[in-house]
Symmetry: C2
Subunit: 387 residues, 2 copies
Amino acid sequence: MSATFVVGTGISPFDRAPSTRSADQVAHAVRAALDDAAVSLDQIDAVYVGNAAGGLLTGQEMIRGQVLLRGLDLGGTPIVNCENACASGSTALYLADTALRAGRAGTVLVVGAEKMASEDKQRPMTALATAVDQERLEEETPEIRGDGSLFMDIYAQLARDYLTDHDARPEDFAALVVKNRRHASHNPVAQFTAPLTVEEVLNARLINDPLTLPMCSPIGNGAAAVVLTTEPSPAATPVRLLASSLVSGRGRHAEPAVTHAARLAFSQADVSPDDVDLAEVHDATAPAELIALEELGLLAPGEGVFAVRKGRLSVGGDLPTNPSGGLVCKGHPVGATGVAQVVEVADQLRGRAGGRQVEGARIGVTENAGGWLGGDVAAAAVHILGR
Amino acid sequence: MSATFVVGTGISPFDRAPSTRSADQVAHAVRAALDDAAVSLDQIDAVYVGNAAGGLLTGQEMIRGQVLLRGLDLGGTPIVNCENACASGSTALYLADTALRAGRAGTVLVVGAEKMASEDKQRPMTALATAVDQERLEEETPEIRGDGSLFMDIYAQLARDYLTDHDARPEDFAALVVKNRRHASHNPVAQFTAPLTVEEVLNARLINDPLTLPMCSPIGNGAAAVVLTTEPSPAATPVRLLASSLVSGRGRHAEPAVTHAARLAFSQADVSPDDVDLAEVHDATAPAELIALEELGLLAPGEGVFAVRKGRLSVGGDLPTNPSGGLVCKGHPVGATGVAQVVEVADQLRGRAGGRQVEGARIGVTENAGGWLGGDVAAAAVHILGR
């Protein structure tokens, strides 16, 4: 089986303007990734595109990738459009890695993109709510509805459970936002970069107790791209994709999907959670960062609250998490997120992360999860990168 | 690289009732395919689901496969949702074959499904029209609009071109419908099975000249499933998947997408078009059957019209095409079609096709294409099966 390398990364600024064209963001990210890889379009054997809800968000379904990539001369190269709610981008990565390992392609492009901002403010809320079984909405969702999206209600319930189970305080969740704003302030593509205090986060508009507005990932637009290859040029600084795992829903033995995906990935990579130097995790809300780290096995259950209090999750700590700013501060254009996480980790491992650089990082993990089905995420993906 | 075998097939009846539940059709097809393969759900390593426009057709986007497969106990098995307009089902097959060739899975399930029928008759028309770039509708579509869908207008233009270029007559297209109705009359899942005469086809309601209603594939619901494996049991009658190719849009040297995909597939399978015993092709309208056969290289340009006049394309002829009834008569629930074509060919190669059996068939081809972009299909896939 061939080894897969990340040889190029590109990302658009994440924004929330209704006028942004997704195809422009994609072209920006793709050109940056190709330039970085020193690869031309005619060297690309296949393109894997992750997009979560373009049909409902923009009205373009069916051939999303072909339309997004139209400005580039791909000359018949196969384009695969995939969708797995908030894990769409990681699903594209998983498929691309699979194609390389099959020998079906030598060099591939992976694109994640979402255009969410709309003049119609309700449109993204309605579209995102389809990440739940539409025939069983009542039984799947919490009874206490807040002033936000369906998913914020689900995450609020998870946050309340975390507070109860682990003697945590809303201040701990606010501290995560403060930390991620600091990280994002060094990330030129991030959506929210202004510093915030714990008090400001706690006093902001309540979305659904205990979540306040700055604890929730925003609506946004963005695109990210990576070039993967089995044959990096000698001149490149390649990063190795050590593992790519995808699971759907809770496992047969009640194991959470993220834990299941992590177990598969650590086994595939032949590294241990102790070897991890940094993580980009799916903090669709601030508390989810702690839940993800614990489900990944990077922290013990309940350890997250102490980790944030001690500053362990900051750049400079021993488990720097979401150096990009994470979903809450960098932004969460749904289909782009999984690819953007790999862009961040690959850039970190190559020492290109500027003011948010994790010094000496050699092993990084991404965790991307989406949808909600029967009490767990409908799709969870873990990628491990190393140099 | 491992060899891929089709060891189980299943298909639901194709219908057009607005009340049909897609999940029920999927469960029917999946259970039949698993039974046929003598494989249990816990032996399935991954599921690849093709669906073209669920977001706009049914409101369920983001996690379509997870919702469609909810009634089955998949226990964390990865589900990949893919979309490529009318080639969605074939894209799922392509991904599944890739996963097997990568050694990432040993046995996989492929599902194609679409629920199109709606109480709102305009809804499927609107959804299907998104298989064209929504920002460039004007330049992409023919000026003369008929009394049907956008795609029937595109196909009508192709049919008019064919009449002009090859001295064909509308009677030839009608003869294809008569032939495919006869095939469909032996297919218990087909949507239209009543016999028609050439005169009846020609005198039916005109959709867009020269296409009359029976020449156009209908709105419908359906699901198809196959089990693919690298390790068939000794007791099974496996069919080998000799090639799987996917391309997007016209190639760099102006080669039609279908021709490009066929060239790749015949090379991969190491068989010649002369070796082909039967074909299932994407006749979204009757004339498209001839265009597909010619673009595939199974007939020379313009030879199609003589082939239909001589009965060569009927079961019993030397190039039996669409023995299932094809899209026009069996039906075309968009995301199901590519998988349904492979179900038909695999059943034919195993001698299980009843009254429509192609005697002694050893090599079969499927061609599935979808979307419209810059004057060619946005995705084209060719699969070659052999025993």
